[in-house]
Symmetry: C2
DNA sequence: CGCCCGTACATTGTATACGAAAGGCAACAG
DNA sequence: CTGTTGCCTTTCGTATACAATGTACGGGCG
């Protein structure tokens, strides 16, 4: 019997509807198509996806656990609105964890995983020069994801991924000056990791996250002033 | 119109079934009534709770997100079996976060919140002397919970709570010598926090978690030897 | 004009039914 | 005796229907 072209088992390919809906909604939230404060209505979603309400409800339970939506019992589900206090709290936690992740990556010093991070850094820098702003957000996530893998602590990697996903609601960079600075910081972090300098890697990584938090805060304040 | 005796709004008292089932199952997992590897069958649970399967399925989605159960699509749901590698990964992350939490608590130095932690410490030490082993696990969780509140970073507090819940599957202490040592460590951590000594608080807190991880590892290895 | 009450509609929560998929067991063939 | 196939039962995934709850709007009254 010939092995199927794809190496995916049939079971993995046949994903339950509730899981597919979860992923579709998560992607829409992450891409900005669904924005903070938007309402999710079960019936409408079910109609849009061409399914019954049950898998939609199950997907909503999963999204709720990710912190991406807010469920008000019997009253409706909304895309989570970033609360500035919560954002700052998450920034602080993320700074600690990203710092530790960089330390582990420097300690592990896995050439293959670090080379992968290096390639994404190059692509990010190229997108910056070419002013492909839409790519940069995705590449930013990929770079951090690659750094997370380089820690070789899978649980930490997952946790950081989850925190980045949650942060994406409050963090959106479009200013080219800011993005250039951010990628410069990426380069510094990766260099410290490649040098095996745990302390510097940790410090730069923490600082990078804290600065991003400060930038997001300023942006929120500027937007609030413009609205009044 | 007289205000109801209870200050809880009606909506908060009338909790949806799926949420009640989630909490009941989570409590059963935490208490050890449901053990790693036990199977959860939708129909049976629905019958036991006297409800239809839908809220059971929704509760299962929520428990899955907490990492307390493992869902094999179309094949069944099991209480998560602690994977030793995963446990050690989580221990490492938890050490970092608990350390940072202690630092924040020392920095904040909130007298009211720290007094609350002190009272739980006293109750823990009393239970130790009285050899009330069953209480100690609960008091241990309360003590850590109180420390988490003392950081005054709600997101960190929630995250630590979630990690403690997940860890409870792999961590169970019954040895009196070990428990005495653990509570002694609690006392040291709280003292450093009360002294406002951020560095010591962080170091002791980290160390405490790492030691607990070592103890759990030894116990798992001893159990594996006894089984063969 | 403003407030309150009632009704209608939209939405959420849950129960029931049906189909798909997986697992277990017995019988048969080599 | 071992491996394979077929059938039945159990369980999971999803659709449909019904009940409960919340919101909005219109009408009436002060």
């Amino acid at each position: 019997m010939k092995k199927p072209q794809s190496s995916r088992p049939l079971g993995a390919a046949h994903t339950a509807l509730f899981h597919q809906i979860y992923e579709a909604l998560r992607d829409r939230i992450q891409s900005g198509e669904l924005r903070p404060g938007d309402r999710l209505v079960e019936d409408r979603l079910a109609e849009d996806f061409g399914v019954s309400r049950n898998p939609v409800r199950e997907a909503i339970r999963m999204l709720s656990a990710d912190g991406l939506i807010e469920v008000n019992a019997r009253r409706g589900v909304y895309i989570a609105v970033p609360d500035p206090v919560k954002i700052q709290e998450l920034v602080e936690i993320r700074a600690v964890l990203e710092g530790h992740n960089a330390r582990l990556a420097a300690r592990r010093g896995n050439p293959k995983l670090l080379a992968a991070a290096g390639r994404i850094l190059e692509r990010g820098q190229a997108a910056l020069i070419a002013e492909k702003t839409e790519s940069l957000t995705r590449l930013n996530d990929e770079f951090h994801s690659a750094l997370a893998r380089a820690s070789e602590n899978e649980s930490l990697s997952e946790m950081l991924g989850s925190m980045r996903l949650r942060s994406s609601l409050g963090f959106a960079m479009s200013d080219p000056v800011v993005q250039a600075q951010s990628w410069q910081e990426h380069a510094g972090i990766l260099q410290a990791i490649l040098d095996g300098d745990e302390d510097t890697a940790e410090a730069l990584s923490r600082s990078h996250v804290l600065k991003a938090g400060d930038r997001a805060k300023e942006r929120a304040e500027t937007a609030a002033q413009a609205a009044s």
